[in-house]
Every structure is written in C-alpha cells, then in structure tokens.
C-alpha cells in the first residue's frame, strides 16, 4: 500500500477525531501489516467483509492513487490498491457507519473558516482534475443543497429567520413605493400590491384609516358595485371588506352593515333598520314567540341573519328573550 504517509499520531489543525477502535489489524491488500496509518488520499469506495468461522469481520477500503506530491510513507510501492481493516475486537459496525458518514460528508473538502474567498463552493476545492473532479463538483453541489435544506428544516427557527427576511424585503419595497409614490405609476403600484397580497403579506399602505382609503380599494369597490360579475381574481377578505366600506362614499346602492356580534353583511341600501325591526316585531307578535330558526324559515333567510335581526330588535327594546333548556326564544317586550 503506497498511498499512505507518515504521521506523528497527533491531529492536525483541520483534522478531527471521528472514531477510535482498538484491535484493528491493517492489511496491505491481503498482506498483513502491523502499522496504523491515516489516509492522505481519498477513498473511492469501501465495503464490508462479513466475519466468517475463524475469521474476524473486515472492512475493505479502496484508495485512489496517491498524488505525486505525497509525503513519504511506509511503502513506496505496492501492488495493491486496497487495504483491509480487520476488527479483532469487534467495533466494525460503528466504524463502518462513521466511515460511511465521513465519506458522505467529505468534511476534508470543506473550506476552512479562516480562509476568505469571494465565491463559496468553488474556493474550497484544491483538486478538480479530470472526470473525478467533475464528479466531485456535482457531488459537492448536491451535498451543499442537501445541507442547506436539512439545516433549514432541522432548525425551525432558522426557517423563521429566512421568512422574516423575506417579509422585511417586501416591506422595504412597499415602503419605497410609498415614498416614491409620485415616481411609480398607479398601475404598477396596484399590481405590486396585489403581488404582495398574493404572497400573504398585508400591504402596509392599507393601514391608513378606512375613511381615506386608497386608490386600489376605490377601484375595487367600483368593480364590486358592478354587481360582482364574471369571476374576478381571488380577493383577500380584508380587501373585500375595505372596498365594501366605501359603498356610501361612492354613492353605490349597497351598504356594509356590521352587527354587534361582529357579523358583517352586504345589503341593499333600501333595507333600513326600522323596517327590519318592525317586521321582526310583527312576526313575533303574530306567532306569540319565535326562535331564530322559526324566524329564518318564515322569512326565507339564513338562521344567522334572522338571529341578527331578532337581536337588533331586542337591543332596541322591542323584544325580550326567554332562555331555557328548550332554547332561545324571543317574545314581544311586555315589560
């Protein structure tokens, strides 16, 4: 085995101890030898040789040819391109595992921290010759990607960092737009804001008071006022609500109505509050008492809406409630 160099047994700066195992005999090819070495050349591949009767388990490691500038080692020449590690005292499984791991990670190929280089993956490599070099490049890139992905997912907080960065970038862009409002055309602004929204990032510009509104919402409101025809692009609920709040200022025949419970409905302007309450009172008086479900059936409305009407009438003092195990029922307020 002519691919080894002498070592003083201590770890160099860029070396780390991965695993130590006693009782390992080193074979030059199939020849027995008793000197322990570490590798300077790269292993191309290795395999396990299971233990047999009278024989200990072995790991066979095939080594690349040594570089021309290799340090002197125990053998100058050898007819073998492989060595065997014989595990007299077991430990071959763990050794094999760590060896596989190290071979995959190729830590010796990572560029050291102290080295400053402008380009990331390129600078670390010192050997890039021939097909082996190309193969290595491809492998490297794959490892790099793998590492990035696994890092991002292993460490969820790192993922959050990355997401935060993204949001920051979008925010800063949005702010820049806001500042340079005059320089960027309205259409572009609108388009960009819709991109932001589609990414799920609330547009900071819409934080303005709803009274003033934005051009974007005004346009949207007008479109909505045209009776929501052919399917529009997807709208965020926030935009829809903001647009609806502008019906009155745009003199559209629709109104956004907010109930005490928070429920919001869009209704025709002609639907005044007094009418709703009066009709609710009439129905209830007529029937003696009504539940929300009964009222809904009577009017052909959703239960949610009919309940809101009954609650409104109660709020105005025209109805009162009977809450029991039988359910919630409304009566005319006789108190």
């Amino acid at each position: 085995m002519d691919r080894f160099s002498w070592s003083n047994g201590l770890l160099e700066i860029n070396e780390t101890l991965v695993i130590q195992q006693r009782g390992v005999r080193l074979y030059d090819g199939d020849d027995k030898s008793k000197i322990l070495y570490y590798f300077t050349s790269l292993c191309s591949w290795f395999c396990e040789q299971a233990a047999g009767i009278g024989k200990s388990a072995k790991i066979v490691i095939h080594l690349h040819p040594a570089a021309a500038n290799k340090e002197p080692g125990p053998y100058q020449n050898s007819k073998y391109s492989y060595i065997k590690l014989s595990f007299k005292e077991h430990g071959q499984i763990e050794f094999y595992r760590r060896l596989t791991e190290e071979m995959t990670r190729r830590r010796w190929e990572e560029k050291p921290v102290s080295q400053t280089s402008p380009v990331g993956p390129q600078a670390g490599r010192t050997r890039a010759v021939g097909i082996v070099g190309i193969e290595r490049k491809i492998e490297e890139r794959r490892k790099e990607t793998d590492k990035n992905i696994s890092e991002a997912f292993e460490d969820l907080s790192k993922l959050m960092e990355k997401a935060k960065e993204m949001v920051e970038v979008s925010r800063s862009i949005a702010n820049k737009i806001k500042d340079k409002q005059g320089d960027i055309s309205e259409d572009e602004t609108i388009r960009f804001k819709s991109y932001l929204l589609s990414m799920g990032i609330a547009n900071p510009v819409t934080r303005e008071t709803h009274g003033s509104g934005t051009h974007y919402h005004l346009q949207l409101a007008k479109q909505l006022g045209d009776m929501l025809q052919a399917p529009l692009e997807l709208l965020s609920p926030e935009d829809l609500v903001n647009a609806c709040k502008m019906f009155e200022s745009l003199k559209l025949p629709l109104r956004l109505r907010v109930f005490d419970s928070g429920v919001m409905v869009v209704q025709l302007q002609s639907h005044s509050e007094e009418e709703m309450i009066a009709s609710a009172l009439d129905s209830v008086t007529d029937k003696g008492s009504l539940t929300a479900e009964e009222f809904a059936k009577l009017l052909g409305l959703s239960v949610l809406l009919s309940k809101e009407r009954l609650l409104l009438a109660e709020k105005m003092g025209h109805l009162c409630r009977d809450d029991s195990v039988e359910g919630l029922r409304f009566y005319p307020n006789l108190f």
Binding site: S289, E314, K315, G317, C320, R321, D322, D323, S324, R329, Y331, N333, L334, F335
Partner: protein, 174 residues
C-alpha cells in the same frame, strides 16, 4: 286570602335575566315587588337562598321556568340596595327580608301607641309583638330582631327609648 301572582309570573322571559339594560331594570323591579309581597303575605322574615330557588316564588312549575341562581343573587342584591334585605352571613346563604323597613314598622307601632293613648307607657318587647292587645295589628308576631330595629328607629327619632329590664328589653314611648 291566597296569594295573587302578577302577570309577569306567567311570562317565560320573566325568568331569564334580560340583556337589554332598560328591559332588565323593569324586570328586576317586578321581581323585587313580587318577592317582597310574597314574603309579606306569608310573613316570612328570613330567606335561605338554596330553599328560595325551589320555592314557588322563583320557580313556576306550571310554565316550567325558574330563575337561575345567578339571577336570584341579582334580585337579592337589588333588594339589598333598596334597603329591603340584609345578609346574615358572608357566604350570602341566608338573609333578612324587610318587606317593611324598620322605619315603617316604627311608624306603625307609634301610631297604635298614640291611638290608644299609651304614650309614656312602658312595654316589654314580648307584650308588643305577642300581647293580646296587639292582636290584629300588622306588627303582631313581628320577630324580635325586627321589632328592635323598629324601636331603634323610633329612638333615633326621639319618640321612644329602649330600656333594659330584668328578663329582657323593654321600651318606653314618649
């Protein structure tokens, strides 16, 4: 004479604490009135809250409605604020019901005293509440704690003086 229930007693919403503030005020007023008149009718001077929940006042079996414990506490608090109720314990499990306030009792007693020309007379408490002379008077059968308070009210007014006697308390009217 049997007790006459007010119209609200048969109105299911009466047994649900109303969320509308104005409606609730009217509801509570009706409850206070009902509770007091019921106690007056049956000469009840104390109430146990747990028992009250099962009593006909707060529990109308006919329409299958009863006031929740929470609502009863609200009604009692309302009575307390008006001066018609006093808690006997910190846990608010028993209370004194003053369907007539001490001052009102005092006035009644003094009227009787004056009417019969008994000013400057001395009475024991027992004579007043259980004596033959007071039979038929409203304050006949008045529980001692209430009688005392009523006389204390008169005392404050300068119309009577509570005195200690050999076997209890007594009062002198002026």
């Amino acid at each position: 004479m049997s007790f006459e229930w007010p119209w609200q007693y048969s109105f299911p919403p009466f047994f649900t604490l109303q969320p509308n503030v104005d409606t609730r005020q009217k509801q509570l007023a009706a409850w206070c009135s009902l509770a007091l008149s019921y106690c007056r009718h049956h000469r009840l001077y104390t109430l146990d809250v747990m028992e009250a929940q099962e009593s006909p006042v707060f529990n109308n079996k006919k329409i299958e409605r009863k006031l929740s414990m929470e609502a009863i506490q609200v009604v009692f608090e309302e009575l307390r604020k008006k001066g018609n109720l006093e808690w006997l314990d910190k846990n608010k499990s028993r209370c004194l019901v003053m369907w007539r306030r001490p001052e009102e009792w005092g006035k009644l007693i003094y009227q009787w005293v004056s009417k019969n020309g008994m000013n400057n007379s001395v009475f024991t408490l027992y004579e007043l509440s259980n004596g033959d002379d007071t039979q038929g008077e409203d304050f006949h059968g008045l529980e001692e704690w209430m009688l005392l308070r009523s006389l204390q009210a008169l005392q404050t007014d300068g119309k009577a003086e509570i005195i200690s006697m050999d076997d209890g308390k007594g009062v002198k009217f002026f």
